[in-house]
């Protein structure tokens, strides 16, 4: 059970934060299909920073280094997303095309630089890094599920998620941002600078996406930047649509997805009632069956809830003003 909670969190956190990244862009009116590329670029810059600091040997290490890497990847992701902002907001280009271009650009540029600058096919952060990030606070109670074998990033992201959700719904800034995604002309008529808000939305989206990318490679993908996040960005996009462009929906979606995904990848070892027998493994179903379940579950839930689904009205439409 403890194991299940730990594993679910590891899968769910990148999804959660990247889906929220999608919300910030789309609620401001910019379709952000580039989440995958932003994650890749953020993870690459994060890995470069960690690699160089660890190679220098007298720099910070452990959790401090992890935080530095998170900040660096957030900044990198934000700047990278501004490329999308520039094409979509200033040049009024098709947002799907701009996003696709970024999705292609990120792996190309990171793999090119990894090979030319570091002479490797994948940038592996020096060994020990991933373990170093883990918290090992053993209390001997059920709380272990949250303190042992977990990452500090998990809690930072949960706090960030809550703060940003409040910002989006309870502050003037959030209201303005959402207005730009629903009806930019109306927003402009009351004096909101639509372009600026959309740029801010895209930048924040990039920051969160970049961080999500780095968390993904640090926690799920064994600390290696190799120009891919295994389609995690697209999954986050799907979770965002699944969550109806709302933080609560996203939280439910990513936890559900993370749980099912975690069952799929470790059903052999799951022992819910601690009797020493892994119940699911005895069913003798192939692992592919468990792998399919999360995707199938999303489809089934969508089929029943789709009537309530509503995208921001003005997303994808360039603002002429």
């Amino acid at each position: 059970m403890i194991f299940l909670v730990q594993q679910t969190m590891i899968f769910a956190i990148p999804l959660l934060i990247v889906a929220l990244a999608g919300v910030f862009a789309e609620r401001s009116g910019i379709i952000n299909i580039a989440l995958d590329g932003i994650m890749i670029f953020g993870s690459f810059i994060g890995a470069v920073v960690v690699y160089n600091i660890q190679m220098a040997q007298n720099g910070p290490s452990g959790q401090v280094l992890y935080l530095i890497a998170l900040l660096a990847s957030a900044l990198a992701g934000g700047i990278f997303a501004l490329l999308l902002g520039f094409s979509a907001i200033t040049l009024k280009a098709d947002q799907t095309i701009g996003g696709t271009a970024l999705n292609l650009l990120a792996p190309a540029i990171s793999l090119l630089l990894i090979k030319v600058v570091y002479g490797q096919n994948a940038l592996r952060m020096p060994t020990g890094t991933v373990k170093e990030y883990m918290l090992h606070i053993k209390t001997g109670t059920f709380l272990d599920a949250f303190t042992d074998m977990s990452y500090i990033s998990t809690y930072i992201m949960i706090v960030l998620f809550i703060i940003l959700s409040i910002v989006l719904y309870k502050t003037k800034f959030g209201l303005r941002l959402r207005a730009c995604g629903e009806h930019p002309q109306a927003a402009a008529s009351v004096g909101i600078n639509v372009r600026k808000m959309r740029y801010i939305g895209t930048f924040l989206s990039g920051c969160l996406g970049g961080m999500g990318g780095y968390i993904y490679i640090a926690t799920v993908s064994a600390g290696t930047a190799q120009g891919t996040v295994a389609g995690m960005g697209f999954l986050a996009l799907a979770i965002m649509i699944f969550g109806n462009w709302k933080p609560v929906g996203i939280a439910i979606g990513s936890l559900l997805f993370g749980l099912l995904k975690c069952i799929g990848s470790s059903y052999r070892a799951i022992d819910i009632n601690n009797d020493g027998i892994a119940g699911l493994a005895n069913l003798n179903l192939p692992s592919y069956f468990y792998n399919i379940i999360p995707y199938l579950a999303v489809l089934i839930v969508l089929a029943f809830t789709s009537k309530n689904s509503r995208a921001p009205k003005a997303e994808g439409i360039p603002y002429d003003g």
Binding site: I33, L83, S87, T90, L91, K92, A93, D94, T96, I97, G98, T100, A101, L102, L104, L105, P107, A108, I109, L111, L112, K115, V116, V117, G119, A230, G231, F234, L235, L237, A238, I241, F242, P286, Y288, F289, N291, I292, Y295, L296, V298, L299, L302, A303, S306, K307, S309, A311, G321
Partner: protein, 438 residues
């Protein structure tokens, strides 16, 4: 024949009081599209070159002159190879086949206003069914081999079509965003394919070195006809698949642009509600469009794996085939024109081969070509802006100037823009007019 002569004459001389077509060609919308594509490509290649130059200057490992050298190797594509050019060219053409068809799969869906990011899944399903049919029916003679090949191709298309129809049905009947369904069905397809082949070991290559691959279909006597192409491109996998794909692209072009059904599909893409009120069955059209897209992707996979020698990596549940996703840049490069998709896919493969040569002969690597493609797509996003500039309508894009104008004038500006479309020659005068009003 007469018609042709008249057309030929009209290129150079005045016919029916129209100016010679070659002189007025630059005004045509299609010429501007092609020109703006060329501008995008040139910009992408140049930026790629500058990045190589910067890397050469900053890095100690890269010898001087590698960037310039690499630039020409990249532009040379398969022709820059120092080994057998015909072999690499043949492989390039053969590998264009699946890319062309997945590009079409994305383009057709785009025409109906749908973003088909599900091509990888449709591709995998097509590949799986085609391989199972090709290997599952024992072939005794050469003629039987051809019919099994045809059957496998058709079954692959049907499998792709059914898989593609799922997101279409979700969109049309339940109103679920097609992007999310496509992403989910992609991963389901990847797992289904792995599942099916992990159970049915008779299709799986037993050799230790080939772990995770299927048996090549030639072992059952099923292969795409070569018609001597393998003699021209010696050693390569080249077969008639590319020509089938090109023929399909032309058919799709005709369907989309010359038939009522194609018009309905495009009408749904332009404005779903207008199409509905004009009496079109927009739900049926959405499902059909996705099914056609799926059939195209499935056909691409079938043609690729029915070549005879190609093996499918069936243990694919953690990755999706790149050819599926690469259909998106191809379609974007071609601005969703089926004929453009032919050239777009050829160009992508050409520059990819250049990238591989780059890795072979310089300190750079194949990712430079990926980078260039990404930059080209980025610029393709503002092809409309480039087209406007080509038409001499620069003034409309000066946001700062427009901002200063009163809302009344803005309305007038829009009207002028429409006039612009009718009389592009006068754009200079209109710029003058505007300045006066300001």
């Amino acid at each position: 024949m007469n018609k042709f002569l008249k057309f030929f004459k009209s290129l150079f001389c005045s016919v029916d009081n129209k100016e010679p077509k070659l002189l007025t060609a630059y005004k045509k919308e299609s010429t501007k599209s092609i020109l703006s594509s060329i501008i995008c490509i040139a910009t992408g290649v140049l930026i790629g070159f500058f990045i190589m130059l910067i890397l050469e200057i900053t890095s100690d490992d890269i010898p001087t002159g590698d960037a310039v050298n690499g630039f020409f190797i990249l532009l040379g594509g398969p022709f820059a190879s120092k080994s057998d050019v015909m072999f690499i060219l043949g492989d390039m053409l053969f590998q264009t086949t699946p890319l062309l068809l997945t590009g079409l799969a994305v383009a057709v869906a785009f025409k109906t206003g749908l973003f088909n990011i599900g091509a990888p899944g449709q591709y995998l399903m097509g590949a799986m069914v085609a391989i199972i049919v090709a290997l599952g029916i024992p072939v005794k003679s050469e003629v039987a081999g051809f019919f099994v090949w045809l059957l496998a191709l058709i079954c692959g298309m049907i499998a792709g079509a059914l898989w593609g129809a799922i997101p279409g049905a979700f969109k049309a009947l339940l109103g679920v965003n097609e992007v999310i369904v496509c992403i989910m069905t992609n991963w389901i397809a990847a797992n289904v394919v792995s599942w099916v082949f992990s159970v049915n070991k008779q299709f799986v290559n037993g050799a230790q070195s080939k772990s995770g691959y299927t048996i090549p279909t030639i072992q059952n006597g099923v292969a795409t006809p070569k018609l001597g192409l393998d003699q021209i491109f010696k050693g390569s996998y080249m077969d008639i698949g590319l020509f089938i794909a090109i023929a399909i692209a032309i058919v799709i072009y005709v369907i989309l642009n010359k038939t009522t059904f194609g018009f309905e599909l495009r009408a749904c893409g332009h404005n779903k509600h207008a199409a509905k009120y004009a009496g079109m069955n927009e739900k049926r059209n959405i499902i059909l469009s996705m099914a056609i897209a799926g059939a195209l992707a499935g056909c691409g996979a079938a043609l690729y794996f029915l070549n005879g020698k190609v093996e499918l990596y069936w243990n694919t549940y953690q990755t999706l085939p790149a050819d599926g996703f690469n259909g998106i840049p191809v379609a974007l490069l071609a601005s969703n024109n089926p004929i453009g998709v032919i050239f777009g896919s050829l160009f992508l493969r050409y520059i990819e081969k250049g990238g591989f040569n780059l890795a072979g002969y310089t300190m750079f690597n194949e990712y430079v070509s990926d980078l260039i493609i990404a930059i080209i797509i980025y610029f393709a996003g503002f092809s409309k802006l480039i087209k406007d500039i080509l038409s001499g309508r620069k003034s409309n894009k000066k946001g700062s100037m427009l901002k200063k104008l009163s809302s009344l004038f803005k309305k007038k500006g829009k009207k002028q823009e429409q006039d612009d479309l009718n009389q592009q020659n006068n754009s200079q005068n209109q710029v003058g007019d505007r300045e006066v009003v300001e």
